[in-house]
């Protein structure tokens, strides 16, 4: 890429500091002059939105932790104490609970964007893998957070999910007892979930740091999926990307505020306002909406062990995506067939989510099975084969050409992607 301007502070203190700890230069090169492709669309703002949501979750979470009591007898009441007696406690709690939903919503859009534009492909494999690690950490953190209010759904979700480990042959039961810290979900379980729910977000912060580092090494992908070749293809991160990200973060906040202030319990289940009771099982145990597709995959398979394996595999398969997709063209813009399979995949994921909220009976199971087969076939059959047989559209020779329609005439045979590096 182009030679960056180096950071030469005018302020005397910053000059003094720069010779000892070049943190100003790091920020300057990463977030000011850092070149970003000029053709990024609004789907590229979700990384910024996610960073913002992570900060919101950590800040609200720390204050909530000051008032919450991780004890089976007090947890439920302490949450209500936050709602009633803590100044703006209702805002903290509703922002945190709905913030989790918004965080997942943004994360899923971010993942689908990466898949649509082939952002996981060489040289961004490690960047993608770090993202999958973040997603798995988010799933664990969100689950443990849902247990903390100690309502009926909290308790029974904890019971059902930890029980999945009992499907492991020989050592399964021992693992479950070890996870619970007893012979049922109880005080030790709640305490350790609380400890881990406080710990994992900071692990996420660490991996997000690596994710951003890897991003800044490889550079951003873009809607055309070709590497920037000259300064004509990029704009400086500040002000171009910062102002665009800020605008979309505020638009996203409007959606967030809609839930927090007007329908704060819409995404929750009423049963979680009933204190946990080990002798009463809820009629339907349903996870939060963002786990429903995985829950549908789990229940689609009649064998418990195989179901758990499929659930785990549905996430693990994402690690291998960079090598499963054999196409050398990144962006779905130039892959007409891939694009249709991709949108079918999105529909299947949403369909699995809907099926996960339904009781596992009749046609629901049948469709959950069909969709599960498509989910795995997409990664294991369609992508490897499609990359070899698909006739892709000619790539533009440069981002500037794609944006401005100059340079080579559109439709001229495109050189292979590796040639763009020259």
């Amino acid at each position: 890429m182009s030679a960056h301007a180096t950071y030469q502070p005018r302020n005397a203190f910053m000059r003094w500091l720069e010779r000892r700890l070049p943190i100003g230069g790091l920020v300057y090169s990463s977030f000011v002059v850092y070149p970003t492709p000029r053709n990024l669309n609004y789907w590229w703002t979700f990384g910024g939105i996610l960073t913002f949501m992570l900060a919101v979750q950590i800040l609200t979470g720390i204050v909530l932790a000051m008032h919450y009591m991780p004890h089976v007898d007090y947890a439920f009441d302490s949450v209500e104490h936050i709602m009633r007696d803590v100044n703006y406690g209702w805002l903290l709690r509703y922002a945190h609970a709905n913030g989790a939903s918004m965080f997942f919503l943004a994360a899923y859009i971010h993942v689908f964007r990466g898949m649509y534009y082939g952002s996981y492909k060489e040289p961004r494999e490690v960047l993608w893998i770090l993202g999958v690690i973040i997603l798995i950490l988010m799933i664990m953190t969100g689950f443990m957070g849902y247990v903390l209010p100690w309502g009926q759904m909290s308790f029974w979700a904890a019971t059902v999910i930890t029980n999945l480990f009992s499907a492991i042959p020989v050592v399964g039961e021992a693992i479950v007892t070890w996870l619970w810290g007893g012979y049922a979900v109880g005080e030790p379980t709640l305490n350790r979930f609380y400890a881990l729910h406080y710990l994992l977000p900071f692990v996420i912060v660490g991996v997000v740091g690596l994710h951003i580092w890897a991003l800044h090494v490889a550079g951003q992908n873009n809607p055309d999926g070709i590497e920037p070749q000259s300064e004509h293809d990029t704009v400086a991160f500040t002000p171009y990307a910062t102002i665009k990200d800020s605008f979309l973060i505020i638009v996203f906040c409007l959606l967030f505020a809609w839930f927090v202030f007007y329908i704060p319990n819409f995404l929750g289940h009423p049963d979680n306002y009933i204190p946990a009771n080990r002798s009463v099982t809820p009629a339907h145990i349903v996870p939060e909406w963002y786990y429903l597709p995985f829950y549908a995959i789990l229940r689609a398979i009649p064998n418990k062990l195989l179901g758990v394996i499929a659930l785990a595999a549905s996430l693990v398969v994402l690690f291998f995506l960079p090598w499963l997709d054999t196409s050398r063209v990144r962006s779905a813009r130039y892959r007409p067939v891939y694009r249709q399979f991709f949108w079918a995949f999105v529909v299947v994921c949403i369909g699995l989510g809907w099926l996960g909220s339904k009781p596992p009976e009749g046609n629901y199971v049948l469709f959950a099975r069909i969709f599960t087969v498509y989910y795995f076939a997409y990664f294991l059959i369609i992508l490897p084969v499609l990359g070899r047989v698909e006739r892709t559209k000619p790539l533009p020779t440069s981002i500037a050409q794609a944006v401005l329609g100059t340079g080579l005439p559109i439709g001229a045979p495109a050189p292979p992607p590796s040639a763009h590096k020259a």
């Binding site: 002000p239 927090v260 202030f261």
Partner: protein, 294 residues
């Protein structure tokens, strides 16, 4: 073009899933929607209604149902039933609250104070079970702990129209859903009552309300329907005492965010105009105050 084909493909897949939809079991009786003063973005509780609901709670429900997270001081909180502090104090004093131990190590009873919480009708669950063979649920958050399934696609409209009064609508319907004779083919186990809105229809609670059971002094009709709405409103407030503050702050936040989003949008347009007008000048240029190195 290809996008349109993708849409068609998606619709075809959705159509495939329709038979599954059709298989859904026949719906139970759905609680009718009511008009609530506290619904919508500008919703506020109706003070008179909350006071009537509190009266129904005190004279009928509180015999069996506690409301342990509600304190007497809450009755005078802003955004509540609108009692004055003196009125709330007087109400508290009508209750006997256990306190202690005193200097002799004895527990004793004294009149309630503003800081006390509403005393529970039973000392423990076992006492309730001994009397009713069941534990009547606490009412503190019950308006949020009840609801009914709206199903797809209604929940999408609910999300857009801010309909979140499922719990109160259900409670209002439940109070009026008792029927002396269960429909043919339905047997209610002994000690149960038929209620068309209760899941599985056999409820252990006898019909709690009847016309003229509670005297209203403000001229509101003393009918089961009115009682049901009033008690539901009261329970909504007990479960969500900060609702008015939440919606008020929400509107301020919305106005702020909309203005900020507008300013950011136009700033963004201005910043990017240069890129659109002079693409040939495009360089990852540093801001003016930092000179570039050659």
């Amino acid at each position: 073009m290809a996008f349109r084909r993708s849409i068609i493909l998606a619709l075809a897949l959705a159509a495939l899933a329709l038979p599954a939809l059709a298989q859904e079991p026949a719906h139970e009786e759905t609680p009718p929607k009511n008009r609530w003063s506290f619904a919508g973005p500008f919703g506020k509780y109706d003070e008179a209604q909350l006071q009537r609901g509190f009266k129904v709670y005190r004279e009928v429900c509180s015999v069996c149902h506690g409301i342990k997270m509600l304190a007497f001081r809450n009755l005078a909180d802003p955004g509540g039933p609108g009692f004055s502090t003196a009125q709330a104090e007087a109400i508290a004093a009508e209750y006997k609250v256990q306190d202690g131990p005193n200097d002799q190590g004895e527990m004793f009873e004294r009149p309630g104070r503003l800081a006390d919480y509403f005393p529970a009708p039973f000392p423990n669950d076992q006492a309730a079970r001994a009397r009713f063979n069941a534990v009547p649920p606490d009412f503190s958050v019950i308006a949020k702990a009840r609801g009914y399934e709206r199903g797809f696609p209604y929940w999408v409209f609910d999300m857009l129209t801010q309909y979140q009064e499922h719990g109160v609508d259900y409670i209002t319907a439940l109070m009026q859903g008792y029927e002396d004779k269960p429909p043919a083919g339905v047997t209610v186990p002994p000690g149960g009552f038929y209620n068309k809105y209760f899941p599985a229809h056999a409820i252990a609670m006898p019909p709690p309300l009847s016309d003229k059971r509670v005297d209203y002094t403000d001229g509101a009709p003393t009918t089961v329907e009115q009682y049901a709405k009033d008690i539901s409103s009261f329970l909504m407030w007990a479960a969500e005492p900060s609702l008015e503050q939440r919606k008020r702050v929400g509107m301020q936040v919305f106005i702020f965010l909309v203005i900020l989003a507008g300013l950011l949008y136009f700033t963004k347009k201005k910043v990017w105009r240069e890129v659109e007008l002079h693409p040939e000048d495009l360089q990852p240029r540093p801001p003016a105050e930092y000179p570039r190195t050659p």
